[in-house]
C-alpha cells in the first residue's frame, strides 16, 4: 500500500512546487513592469515540478524494492523469529501469513508461530512507512527549494525544461532495449544454470523427454532431458500442419479480396477477417479442445484409425492454421498491392486472363514479400501457446502421425513452470532453456523476414 501513498505524496509535492513557481514567476512579470522575462511562467513552474518529481520518483522506485526486504530483515531479527523452521517452503508460508494479517489482507492466522510474528511485522511496517514518507518529503522539499531559489527574471527555464523533456523521450525509447536485454539476460542466466546440470548435447540431441520434478535435483537423469521430440512437435504442429492450412487459404483470400471481390464485399469481409485475428488464443484453444479434437477423433475412428487420440497434433495444427489465416492474408495483401500497376496492366493488355496475370506476374513479383510473411507466420505459430496447451497433450512423442498426441516447446514451458517445483531443479530450469531456444529461433525468423520485407519494398518505390 505504501508506494501508492508515496506516489500521491510525490504528486502533491510536485503540484505545490508547480503552483509556487508559477506564482513566483508572475511576480517577476509584475516587478519588471511588464518587461520581458526569459521564459513563460509555466516553464518556471515545470522546471520546479520536474526538480521535485524526478528525484522523488527515483527514490520511490528504489524504496518499493528495498523496503519489503528491510521489513523482512527486521522481523527476522526479532526474538519471535527464532522459532521459525530453518528454511524452505514452510518458513515462507508462515512469513507470508503473518505479513498478510499485518497488512490487513487477511483476517486471522492459523499458525501459532505466525501469530507471534504479526506484531513485529506491524511494527516494521509502521517504522519503514514512516521512514519512507519522511525521506520522500525531505527529498521533495530540498530539491524543490534548490530549484525554486534559481528562479530569476532572466532564468532560461524553457531551455532547461526542454532539455529534460528530451532526456525523458530518450529514456522512454531505451525501454525497448532494456526489455530485450532483460529477456536475453534472464533467459541466458537460467539457461546456463540448467546446462550446469544437464549437458547441452544431451538437451539438444536427446530423443527422450520426461523430466521428473520429484527427482533429486543434484543428480538429474540427463537422458530424460532430450528436447528433440519437443522441437519436432513444435515444427510439425506450427510449421507443417498449421502452414498447410494457413498458406493456401490466406493467399487465396488475399488474392480474391484484392483482385476479384466487389468493393462492398471487401469492405465487409476484411473486418470479419480482422475479427478472426482478434479472437484470443485461449478461445481458439477451447474451441480446438471442445469441438475440433473430438470431431477429428470420431472421424478418424470411423474410417478405421484405432489409435486416434482425443488430443491430436492435427486438431491443434488445424485451429492454429485458421488463427494464422488473417495474418498471412494481410501480409500477402500488402505485398501484392506493392507490385506496380503497370506490370499487371501490361500482362492483361497482352491478352492474359486475370488468373494467368496473378499466377505468372503478380505472385512471382510479390514472392519475397509473401515468403517473408510466411516466415513471420511460422514464427508466430511456433510461439503460440494456449492452443497447443489446451488441444495437444503433454506427452512427448516423436512421430509423423498427425492423429497422435504430441507436445511442443511452449506446452512444456507452461507445464514445467506451473507446477510446484523449486527454482533449483533442472526440470524447472529446463523451461528457461526451452524459452531461450524458442526466442533465438523466432528472433532469427523475424529478423530475416523483416529484412526481406524492407528490401523488397524498396525495389518498387
Amino acid at each position: 500500500m505504501s508506494p501508492v501513498i508515496l506516489l500521491l505524496l510525490a504528486l502533491g509535492l510536485g503540484l505545490a512546487g508547480w503552483l509556487a513557481a508559477r506564482a513566483r514567476a508572475w511576480t517577476f512579470k509584475r516587478d519588471t513592469n511588464g518587461g520581458r522575462i526569459a521564459a513563460l511562467p509555466n516553464y518556471h513552474a515545470w522546471y520546479v515540478a520536474l526538480w521535485i518529481a524526478v528525484p522523488v520518483l527515483a527514490f520511490i522506485a528504489i524504496w518499493s524494492v528495498v523496503a519489503p526486504n528491510l521489513v523482512n530483515q527486521s522481523v527476522l531479527a526479532s526474538p519471535a523469529a527464532a522459532e521459525l523452521p530453518a528454511f524452505g517452503f514452510k518458513r515462507d508460508a508462515i512469513l507470508n501469513e503473518a505479513r498478510a494479517v499485518a497488512n490487513g489482507d487477511a483476517q486471522a492466522v492459523f499458525n501459532d508461530t505466525a501469530r507471534a510474528l504479526v506484531d513485529p511485522f506491524r511494527d516494521a511496517f509502521a517504522r519503514y512507512n514512516f521512514i519512507g514518507i519522511a525521506v520522500t518529503l525531505a527529498i521533495g522539499l530540498l530539491s524543490g527549494m534548490i530549484a525554486f531559489l534559481r528562479l530569476r527574471p532572466d532564468f532560461t527555464a524553457r531551455t532547461r525544461v526542454e532539455r529534460a523533456v528530451m532526456t525523458i523521450l530518450l529514456l522512454a525509447s531505451l525501454v525497448a532495449i532494456l526489455t530485450t536485454l532483460g529477456i536475453v539476460v534472464s533467459l541466458v542466466f537460467e539457461t546456463i544454470r540448467f546446462f550446469g546440470m544437464v549437458s547441452p548435447i544431451d538437451f539438444l540431441f536427446g530423443t527422450h523427454w520426461g523430466p521428473d520434478p520429484m527427482a533429486n535435483p543434484d543428480n538429474p537423469d540427463a537422458s530424460r532431458y532430450g528436447a528433440i521430440p519437443l522441437f519436432w512437435g513444435t515444427i510439425f504442429i506450427g510449421a507443417i500442419i498449421a502452414m498447410i492450412v494457413a498458406i493456401p487459404l490466406g493467399l487465396m483470400s488475399a488474392i480474391y479480396l484484392t483482385q476479384y471481390a466487389h468493393p462492398r464485399i471487401r469492405s465487409w469481409v476484411k473486418p470479419a477477417l480482422e475479427i478472426l485475428a482478434g479472437v484470443p488464443t485461449v478461445v481458439y484453444g477451447y474451441f480446438a479442445a471442445l469441438t475440433v479434437a473430438p470431431f477429428i477423433r470420431d472421424v478418424a475412428l470411423s474410417i478405421g484409425f484405432s489409435s486416434a487420440s482425443s488430443e491430436s497434433a492435427l486438431a491443434a495444427g488445424l485451429v492454429m492454421g485458421v488463427m494464422i489465416i488473417p495474418f498471412v492474408s494481410s501480409m500477402a495483401d500488402d505485398s501484392i498491392a506493392a507490385v506496380p500497376a503497370a506490370m499487371r496492366d501490361g500482362s492483361l493488355a497482352m491478352g492474359a486472363t486475370q488468373s494467368e496475370t496473378i499466377k505468372r506476374v503478380l505472385i512471382p513479383a510479390a514472392l519475397p514479400g509473401i515468403v517473408a510473411g510466411v516466415m513471420l507466420a511460422i514464427s508466430r505459430a511456433i510461439g503460440e501457446t494456449m492452443i497447443v496447451v489446451m488441444a495437444a497433450s503433454t506427452a512427448a512423442n516423436l512421430s509423423a502421425n498427425p492423429l497422435e498426441s504430441m507436445t511442443t516447446v511452449t506446452v512444456q514451458i507452461v507445464a514445467m513452470l506451473t507446477g510446484e517445483g523449486s527454482f533449483d531443479h533442472p526440470a524447472t530450469l529446463s523451461a528457461f532453456a526451452l524459452g531461450f531456444v524458442l526466442f533465438l529461433v523466432t528472433l532469427g525468423l523475424n529478423f530475416v523476414a523483416l529484412r526481406v520485407v524492407k528490401r523488397f519494398r524498396e525495389t518498387y518505390e
Binding site: M1, S64, P68, Q107, M166, L169, L170, A172, S173, L174, V175, A176, I177, T179, T180, G182, I183, E190, L249, L251, M252, Y256, Y260, A261, V269, E274, I275, L276, G278, V279, P280, T281, V282, V283, Y286, F287, A289, L290, P326, T353, S355, E356, I358, L376, S379, I382, E384, T385, M386, V389, M390, T410, I413, V414, L417, A431, F432, L438, N446, L450
Partner: protein
C-alpha cells in the same frame, strides 16, 4: 482481352482446324480462370465458416452458462433468531459472522421443510452464501419472510438439462412439475468470483482482475510508447544507437508472448517476491508486450502529420519541443489512440505470460487492489476449461462470450475512432 485475336482470325483466311484448337484452348483458359476465382471465393467462405462455427458453438453452449438451476425455498429469517445487527453486517467479516450464528443450519432446515429430506440434499452445500450475500446487501431481510432461489447441486442441474443419471432426471422432473425447480437467469454470474462448484461461480473476480491489470498496462505502456515514438520519429539522429532501438522495438513486437512471461517471472517476481499473481506484476509484464505495438502505430500516426505543420510552427518561433507537443502530438493523437486500443485488446486476450507469473491461482474473492492476488478473464477461461464437471463447459462458454463482447467493443471503438478522425491533408 483475348477476344481481339478472334476477329483477325475471321477476317483473314478462315482456318477451321486452328480455330478449333484456339477455341478449345481459350475455353480451357477460361475454365481455369473460373476455377481459380472459385478457389479464392471458397478460401474466404471457409474462413468465414470457421468463424461462424466458432461463434455459434460458443453462443449455443454459453447461453446455458448465463442460467442456473435454482430451487425455490421460502425462509423465515425473522424466526431464525439471527442476532446480527445492520452495523455488524457492514464489517468485512459479515459472512463469517452469519456462518457462526448458524445461517447454514437455518437454510438447511427450511430447505428440508420446503422440499423434503431427499430433495433438500440436492441444494448446493454453499447455497447459504447466497442468502448471506442477500442479507448483507439488504439487512431488512432479517425481519421478513422471503422466498429465496437457491442454487441446486450440479447433479440436479444436469438432470434438469436432461443429462446425468436417470435418478436425478426423475427428481428434476418431479421438482419442476411442482414449480420448485427452475432454470433462471443467473444475475450472480456477473457479480461473483471463482468457486469450486459450477453452480456457484461468477466472473466478476476475473473481470475486475482484468480491469486492474489493463489499467496498469495502460498507465505504463501508453506514455512510454508515445514518448518513444515521438523521439524516434521527430528527434532521433540516424546512427547506430537509434538503429538498435528500432530493431529491438520491431523484434519485440514479434517475440512470442510466453517469452515476456518468462521475463516477468525472472525479473519482476525476483524484484517483488511477495506480489505473485498480483495485477501489478501482470500489468507490468503485459505493458512490456504492448509498448512496441503502441510505438509502431504511434510512429505511423506521427509520420502522417504533414511537414508543413512543423515548418509553420517553427517559422513563427516555436522551439522543437513546442512544435511536437503543441502541434504534432495533438494531430497524431487519434491515430495513436487507435493503435493503443488495438494493443490493449491484444493484451486483454493474452493468457500465456500471465500463467507464467502465477495468475492461475484459485482466487475466490475479487481482488481489492493492485497488489492482491487476482486472476484475469482469459486465465479464468483456461482454468474452467480444465474442470471435469459438465457444468463448467457452459460457464466457460459464457465467460468467452463476455470476453468476446469486450474485445468487439474495443475493436469497434478503434474502428469508430479511425473513421471519425481519418484526415487527408
Amino acid at each position: 482481352m483475348s477476344n481481339a485475336a478472334v476477329p483477325t482470325g475471321e477476317q483473314s483466311e478462315p482456318r477451321p482446324d486452328r480455330r478449333e484448337a484456339f477455341e478449345a484452348r481459350l475455353k480451357k483458359r477460361y475454365a481455369s480462370e473460373k476455377r481459380f476465382r472459385l478457389l479464392g471465393l471458397s478460401a474466404i467462405i471457409f474462413s468465414m465458416a470457421v468463424l461462424a462455427v466458432l461463434l455459434f458453438t460458443m453462443t449455443v453452449n454459453g447461453v446455458g452458462g448465463f442460467q442456473r438451476a435454482e430451487l425455490t425455498v421460502p425462509i423465515a429469517l425473522s424466526e431464525a433468531g439471527l442476532s446480527a445487527t445492520p452495523a455488524d453486517l457492514q464489517e468485512s467479516g459479515a459472512v463469517q459472522l452469519l456462518e457462526a450464528q448458524g445461517l447454514p443450519g437455518v437454510v438447511e432446515y427450511y430447505a428440508i421443510e420446503a422440499l423434503g429430506e431427499e430433495a433438500a440434499a440436492e441444494v448446493s452445500p454453499q447455497a447459504w452464501r447466497d442468502v448471506a450475500d442477500a442479507i448483507i446487501v439488504d439487512p431488512s431481510l432479517l425481519r421478513r419472510d422471503t422466498v429465496f432461489n437457491l442454487p441446486a447441486s450440479s447433479d440436479l442441474a444436469s438432470g434438469l438439462n436432461g443429462e446425468g443419471s436417470a435418478e436425478s432426471r426423475a427428481m428434476a422432473e418431479q421438482l419442476s412439475a411442482d414449480g420448485q425447480l427452475s432454470s433462471n437467469f443467473d444475475e450472480g454470474f456477473l457479480s461473483r468470483a471463482d468457486a469450486t462448484n459450477p453452480q456457484q461461480v461468477g466472473i466478476w473476480g476475473a473481470l475486475k482482475g482484468s480491469m486492474l491489470t489493463m489499467l496498469v498496462t495502460l498507465v505504463l505502456a501508453f506514455p512510454i510508447g508515445v514518448l518513444a515514438a515521438l523521439y524516434l520519429e521527430e528527434y532521433a539522429p540516424k546512427n547506430r544507437w537509434t538503429d538498435l532501438i528500432e530493431v529491438s522495438i520491431n523484434n519485440l513486437a514479434a517475440v512470442p508472448s510466453i517469452i515476456f512471461g518468462l521475463l516477468g517471472l525472472a525479473v519482476f517476481l525476483w524484484l517483488f517476491p511477495n506480489l505473485r499473481s498480483a495485477p501489478l506484476i501482470g500489468g507490468m509484464t503485459l505493458a512490456l508486450m504492448t509498448m512496441p505495438v503502441i510505438v509502431i502505430s504511434g510512429r505511423n500516426a506521427i509520420k502522417a502529420v504533414p511537414p508543413s505543420i512543423r515548418d509553420g510552427a517553427l517559422a513563427v518561433g516555436a522551439s522543437p519541443v513546442q512544435v511536437v507537443f503543441h502541434h504534432v502530438l495533438p494531430l497524431a493523437l487519434p491515430g495513436i489512440l487507435t493503435g493503443t486500443i488495438i494493443g490493449m485488446a491484444r493484451a486483454l486476450g493474452e493468457t500465456a505470460p500471465l500463467l507464467m507469473i502465477g495468475m492461475r491461482a484459485f482466487v475466490a474473492t475479487p481482488p481489492d487492489g493492485f497488489t492482491s492476488p487476482a486472476t484475469v478473464l482469459p486465465v479464468q477461461i483456461f482454468l474452467w476449461s480444465d474442470e471435469i464437471d459438465r457444468g463448467f463447459v457452459e460457464r466457460t462458454s459464457a465467460a468467452i462470450i463476455v470476453l468476446l463482447l469486450f474485445l468487439l467493443l474495443m475493436n469497434g471503438l478503434a474502428i469508430y475512432l479511425r473513421n471519425k478522425f481519418e484526415k487527408s491533408w
